[in-house]
Subunit: 211 residues, 2 copies
Amino acid sequence: MEKERPPYVPEPAIRRLPWYLACVSRLRAQGVEYVSSTAISRQLNVDASQIAKDLSYLNIKGKTRIGYEVEQLERELDDFLGFTRCHKAVMIGVGSLGRALISDSGLSRYGLNIVAGFDTSPDIVGTEVAGVPVYDMSRLAELRPGLDAEIAVIAVPVEFAAEVTGQCVAAGIKALWNFTPFHIKTSPGITIQNTSLYANLALMYNRMNSR
Amino acid sequence: MEKERPPYVPEPAIRRLPWYLACVSRLRAQGVEYVSSTAISRQLNVDASQIAKDLSYLNIKGKTRIGYEVEQLERELDDFLGFTRCHKAVMIGVGSLGRALISDSGLSRYGLNIVAGFDTSPDIVGTEVAGVPVYDMSRLAELRPGLDAEIAVIAVPVEFAAEVTGQCVAAGIKALWNFTPFHIKTSPGITIQNTSLYANLALMYNRMNSR
């Protein structure tokens, strides 16, 4: 983990940066050398002034009448977002979703390297998923330092979410990527990122019915 | 798809409802019959008054000194969130993430039934993933009505996101659950739900580095 502090960027801007990255990666693949915030704006439906402002947080400035250099912009966004560094993680809960996430090679493209899984089921412990070994949950505190993982991806059934969170923190985990619908309380020094697939589904269903 | 309009509930409240559902499901499994908003509040770190307000949108009211009836609250939340209905969906892009999502049986618990996959790769078209057939992308418009699917889950490489979105809308898809970092423009009558795993990763990395 790098100790250098990144520039302060507000959360809504951080959420938009991957859109810009996706856009410039596509342009780079097409051989485009320069792009204006206006051109990015047309593709993404985000105001050009907002794009320029978001990028200025990273001290990225376009040139008058030329715009941004595509390759450089892609590299700077990739670096800032942390996708070019390797962040080691453990998967807590190797059921259906846990296996799915371990098998998604896309995560390693974005800097997340899942090095081990932990579960309590005798059918799963001792097996491998896509080359990743699965250990008994009781061994997390013992094995974590050697695995050098500071991130835990939580994909257990919701009724175990509170319990495994405590075990992760006790084992020295610094960040929890929570896929359960359980709302984990924050603790000092622990980063919590909630990605509730099911809450997103509920929102989508609700909007479909409201039309 | 049900035509009955659900009560209007603001988006931040909809995002919290799955937390309450997870909490009461757990209580029900433990045999608890009644729960107060204060007790839910302690578990979730959300103000009790906020919980009571959120539930009142659904016309759910607790009884003085007794609280909410756990089984009834679970059922009403499950129903409102759309998790008890079957929403048929197609998976667009059956690569690493697409296969992973098809294999996640958790989605069907939350009302999403993936009935077919679509891809362009000759290695994948004609195969089955977890019992779900994969067709050539060019057949989407022809096959969609028979599949009775109004939702498309978008899990293609980001450079194809714009193109497949157009194909989905042309084929009669009404809602897009977008897992790519591409920011899909909204069209009238089309619901778009973005779930950017990678944007969430970027946020988590950023917060870890800021500590």
